[in-house]
Amino acid sequence: MNIMTLESEGETEGGEALRARLRGWLDENVPPHLLEDRPGHRPATVEELTEWERRCYHAGFWGITWPEAYGGHGLTIREHLIANQEIGRLALPPSVNSVAKELVGPILLSAGTEAQKETLLRPILEMEHVWCQGFSEPDAGSDLARLRTRADRIDGGWRINGQKIWTSYASRADYCLLLARTGTVEDRHKGLVLFALPMNLAGIEARPIPQIAEVDGFCETFFTDVEIGDDAVIGSVDGGWRAAVSVLSVERATNRMYRGCRFENELMHLIRTCREAPALAPLLEDAGYRQRIGALWTDMEVIKANAADVVDRVAEGREIGEYGSFIKLHWSEAHQRLAVLGLEMLNHAWRTDDAAVQRAKERFEAMYLEGRCETIYAGTSEIQLGIIADRILGLPRVKR
């Protein structure tokens, strides 16, 4: 096992020292209203969250493994895990620029040109550029290889025409990570090109789509004769997708390593609320609820163990492969079970006006609705099962 050390401003900082520093910074700097397990919580504005994430970056929470030359902190995945654990420990809102930090950054680092790295990476961490993801289309969801948005060659660049859907935050994004087709639909995964597309170009229209949960995000985005230069292509033409996929299979395993600690925060919020509310305390003696709590706590430990195992594998140079599919499949379904348990337990509190109980109810109601998309986005559960069957188990494919 590697010893967790890092170089920071000329000093060696061990893992526990880093943890203490990050935890201390959060304790002193988190705006209380951001915390979803406090009665004083209120939804933050986009501007507040943008400023919060920028401050978190400077405190050492974002871009941990990115090279210092591009604004990152130049550390290892072990420190990445520590920072995520500390973020997850608190009931903080999700990033409003996760596409940029979790997808675009790693793809650019792997396949981008030097100019792209120099101009695009630091503004992501500084929250100057928000990105959206232009992959899915109305007729190409889980079957992404059917996408039809075209990228046609013009003098010195490309002309884009088509429609994307589920382009979260497109209405306020500065850039789009756009996947378009140079060939025909029959080419499937071949003939796809990846762009870093500025969203202020003529011919782009983003229309918000109302979601079932009270958060904004979804958009459908139309591209009509949008012209873009060659310098916007990420990776080689017709090869960017392959580069992106190879990065994403690793990223799926290393992104959002805060999930285990956040799961614990949520479960402990539920338990604490029940323990302190007279109307709910008897539920903690109920065998049925106790067994579900026990099973969910075990789920939480599995989520943490998966993250720790990924870190060990990366540190030892071992294969991760499609490991992220185990993580995504297990976490998304367990998180939905947690939300359901929270709803069912907290619904017993109808006689009380207690602010803490009300806050917990609001949190778990939102978690339940928002959680419905967790088995859909980033590859549905069926896609993850297909990946495990094909690429992890290596089950033979059969052509009918």
Partner: protein, 341 residues
């Protein structure tokens, strides 16, 4: 490579050892427990984590490939109990401890018991005598020693000594039937050290989970082979998405359990190991039987015959769960969680 192979995904430093364990356990498969004990002892497997001078004194993680190989091979010998008690050998007379490690004798363990010291706790330092009943004891008719819970302690009982009556209670596991053992002032060797007792319980839970995981993985490997070879509706069954997804979900559950086991084995504190062991056993009890049942189902009618050994893993799993099913184990986890501040 079949990723349902129980010996996959082991730490690289255990790979060679895993192959030794596989060969040894496959050679011992089908042998009566006493012969299996001798065969495994020849390869050092019965003393793999036993402290010196009795065994090899390897770290706890070395038990993983041994128990996975034993689980996959469906050994009749209750190796998990023997390995879990490795650190307790020094409580036994030296000759008895040596016999357990070198395969001249073998140990079984009672997961539950209603046993007390006959005439109350001895204060004279004499060996205590136990009375009461121990349940779900594998191979009590063939083992030399029984490890039995006595309140918060443990005790070794010489099954060949007086005051012992065994009665077959279940043949669910045909190769390893279980018994009730009635003790009537039977002489015993006490293990009163709370830390040693807690360590045994954590190891027993972890090793039970390893056995379940190994059996489920081996059963699924057979199912994959069958689905690949068997064609219906003009194509191999493995091509049907519903079956592929079921296999993938089973693999995910095995992966989740194996991560808990790995963390439990590597835990630096007894408290941490105990917690993770409880969770691993809870998860094993909740998910592994379903996987083996599915493997049996995937074989179609063949799965219901004795030509396909999936039923042997299923019997082993169901018998091993005993009175510690998902409800009880999840309750045990909840009790720990709800005691947190």
């Amino acid at each position: 490579m079949n990723l349902f192979d129980p010996l996959n995904d082991l730490p690289s430093d255990l790979a060679d050892f895993a192959e030794t364990a596989r060969r040894s356990c496959e050679a011992a498969a089908g042998l009566p427990p006493a012969e299996a004990a001798r065969r495994l002892a020849e390869d050092g497997l019965t003393g793999v984590i036993a402290p010196e001078p009795f065994g090899l004194d390897l770290p706890l993680t070395a038990a993983l490939p041994v128990l996975r190989a034993a689980g996959a091979a469906r050994l009749s010998l209750p190796l998990g109990a023997a390995l879990a008690a490795s650190h307790l050998l020094s409580f036994l007379p030296k000759a008895a401890a040596e016999a357990l490690v070198d395969g001249r004798d073998f140990l079984t363990a009672a997961p539950v018991a209603d046993v007390s010291v006959a005439g109350g706790r001895s204060t004279s330092g004499d060996a205590p005598h136990l009375s009461g009943r121990a349940g779900h004891v594998p191979l009590a008719d063939a083992a030399g020693w029984l490890l039995v819970p006595v309140g918060a302690s443990l005790a070794f009982v010489d099954l060949a000594a007086g005051g012992i009556a065994v009665k077959r209670a279940s043949v669910m596991d045909e190769a390893r039937p279980s018994f009730v053992v009635d003790l009537d002032a039977a002489a015993a060797v006490s293990v009163e050290d709370p830390e040693a007792v807690a360590e045994y319980r954590a190891r027993a839970d972890l090793f039970q989970a390893i056995d379940a995981s190994a059996g489920a993985a081996a059963a699924m490997a057979l199912a994959v082979g069958h689905l690949t070879d068997r064609s219906q509706f003009g194509q191999p069954l493995i091509g049907f998405q519903s079956l592929r997804h079921d296999l993938a979900r089973a693999r995910m559950e095995l992966h989740s359990l194996d991560r808990l086991i790995a963390r439990g084995l590597a835990a630096e504190t007894l408290t941490e190991r105990t917690t993770l062991a409880t969770m691993a056993r809870a998860r094993a009890a909740a998910h592994m039987p379903g996987i083996v049942e599915m493997a049996l189902h995937m074989h179609g009618g063949m799965g219901f015959t004795r030509n396909v050994p999936v039923h042997e893993w299923l019997r082993r799993l169901r018998a091993g769960i005993g009175p510690a099913g998902p409800a009880e184990m999840n309750e045990a986890v909840a009790a720990r969680v709800l005691a947190l501040p």
